[in-house]
């Protein structure tokens, strides 16, 4: 009998002897079943709606608050200050962004580096897909913990003439501190009345769902 066989036999013997042996995996799956029953597939909810009129170059330019609403807790978005620029390029409208994270606790201090992103092509119907390079966001902007976040995301939305917002679906992955799929997430840019004056109520998707007003637990210690 090899040592490996001995270990296997002993482990099995011990496991068999457990009466009422817990089944953690079974409980994990049972919760998923209950959740799926209550929330039938909602992946992609909050996606952008079609434009009646496509925005013109410079029409949407200005200062925004950008809410990145991850599907794992949609009402606790990562917030950014955003400067939106649109201009007419060789192939059509182009969208450029300058993002800087906002402190998750005071919700007004800009933290970390500025990300200059784009230009991204905008289709004639106003739709766009903006594939961001990996963004390394400081832990100060993380609404859940102090951990810095690295994410590779793409935004899919439309630049519509009406309104003061840009919204749509967000896909991709958080790669640090852990691998998390962001499929089913949303985003929304909401125009600021003046630069740096961030609203207390932030919308997180095209439906206008409001983020939690209460500060996250990490900020209340």
């Amino acid at each position: 009998m090899t040592p490996r066989t001995i270990i296997t036999v002993c482990t099995t013997l011990s496991a068999v002897a457990l009466i009422g042996c817990p089944n953690a995996e079974g409980e994990f799956e049972a919760f998923q079943d209950r959740y799926d029953t209550i929330h039938p597939s909602t992946t992609g909810a909050g996606g952008s709606s079609a434009c009646e009129t496509v925005a013109k170059a410079s029409e949407l330019d200005g200062d925004y608050v950008f809410a990145l609403s991850a599907s794992l807790d949609p009402k606790s978005p990562v917030r950014f200050d955003a400067k939106v620029t649109t201009k007419q390029g060789a192939k059509g409208l182009e969208l450029s962004l300058a993002l800087q994270a906002i402190d998750a606790c005071d919700r007004k201090t800009l933290v970390g580096e500025v990300f200059d992103l784009g230009p991204f092509d905008v289709a004639p119907n106003g739709s766009f897909t903006a594939q961001f390079p990996p963004l390394e966001v400081t832990g100060l902007a993380n609404p859940f913990s102090e951990n810095p976040i690295t994410a590779e995301v793409s935004l899919t939305g439309s630049l519509c003439a009406e309104g003061d917002s840009i919204c749509g679906a967000l896909d991709g992955d958080v790669t640090k501190p852990t691998k998390i799929s962001l499929t089913g997430s949303n985003f929304r840019f909401e125009r600021l009345t003046s630069p740096g004056s961030y609203p207390t109520e932030v919308k997180v998707d095209c439906d206008g769902t409001l983020a939690n007003e209460k500060l996250p637990p990490k900020c209340t210690k």
């Binding site: 482990t11 011990s14 002897a17 994990f28 609403s69 691998k179």
Partner: protein
Amino acid sequence: MTTRSSKRYDHLRRSLRGAPLAAAGLLGATTSLLVADAHAAGFATARFGGELGHPMTSNPTAIYYNPAGIALSRGVTIFADGTLAFRSLSYERKPDANAPGEVPEPADGIGANTGKATLNNQIAAPMIGATYALPLTEKLDVAGGLAMMVPFGGSATWDKNEAFKGHPNYPGPYDGRQRYYTIHGSIRSLYLSAAAAASYGNLLSVGVSGGVSLNSIDSVRARSAAIDTNLDTEGRAWLKAKNVTPQLGVGVMLTPLEDRDKLRVGISYQAPPGFGSMKLRGLLQKYFAGNLSGNVAGTDDVELHQTLPDIVRAGVSFRPTNRIELRLMGDYTRWSLFQDQCINNAGEPCEVSHGDDGLKDGQPKPGSENATVVLPRRFRDTVSGRIGASFFVRPGAEVFGGLGIDQHAIPDATVEPSMVDFNSVSLAVGGRYRISRHIAAAATYTQFIYAPRDTTGQSKMPYYAAPSNSPDSGGLYRQSIGVLDVNLQLNFDPAREQIEISERRAAAPAVL
């Protein structure tokens, strides 16, 4: 059979196309583990041998309690033991409404997070051992042995909160009000030990045991990304991890009187499994649900870092007459080694500040920033004591009893339903009967009486820095455990029996 979770894991692995599976620790959210089922302090569960398992014994349980003892046995001894524990535990969750992460129960969720949770479990654990002892010279006896036992561990299955069965809005509360710490779980260190011992001059015995410890954890709990009690965003985290570590024990026994059973003084040391910090490697699966979006599930390749305690045991047994044996014993368990359980990406360190180095209490130290979750334990060393007595009704028939006290290892700040510990008093009664020349059976029933603990307002769990924080675990804990230990011992001495046969033959008249 492939389960749903394992399928999901396979899918994720493929989707990552060989990239290193990122560790545990999702933006601060994750899992917990462990469900302790302590018969003694912390989650030590060594009760094999019943009232006859102690550092002065010579039966095969000595391989764990004091390996020197096996040198006092004779011939071959095979020992099969089963411990059956009947455990009931209740936890009445009474969180501080202002604690970080404490979200008020919604009108249709009253009773989801506050009130009483219960469990009633039966748990069995086997111990098997065999020893062989023989005189090598007139003054030197030697012995060897093998054994399998479970000195640390426990498991728990909590009752459901039936008021939330089939709830139309909240899938989480059905798993009970303790679910933020544990729903189902087990922890175990299974020892496979070999031992060697020698006894010299009928006075001093020394022994050593060693082998491997098979350590495992399998636990699921409720968790949300924000580490709060919001019913809308409640998810689940499941950790399954294991490893194999070395383990070692040494012991000494003094038998100063000519009759080695009359007075025995034993002392032993059991090193921490793995001789220090150990890393259990495994999978962390998460299922976080959002109001507006679909499900997000993930799997990580993670390591759980922890250090289990070492133990010093000592005791004395004395037989003032041939019919009575008195025993006094105790142990000192260095539970202060068990400070945190830290989960991080496999291959990365996982060290946590205790707030004495300029960092926040619970904050990962530099180099450990990717830690997914930390479970602050902050255990304290414990001392336990026990007195016992045996009365030998006649040769081969013995009745015994014992009284013990155990100190709890877990401070109020970190007590939570998966890690509960109490100051306790235990009463044991039992007997041992020699069925035949070679076979004896014994049974011990021990009732542990625990002083209730009310930690309302004392929980520090919500106040640790992420990722060490968890919802408030304050509340009223009550526990009762009864342990039935039964064992069968087979003993024979081939050498002595050969001598007896020879002597009988020599004494018999010649037939031919």
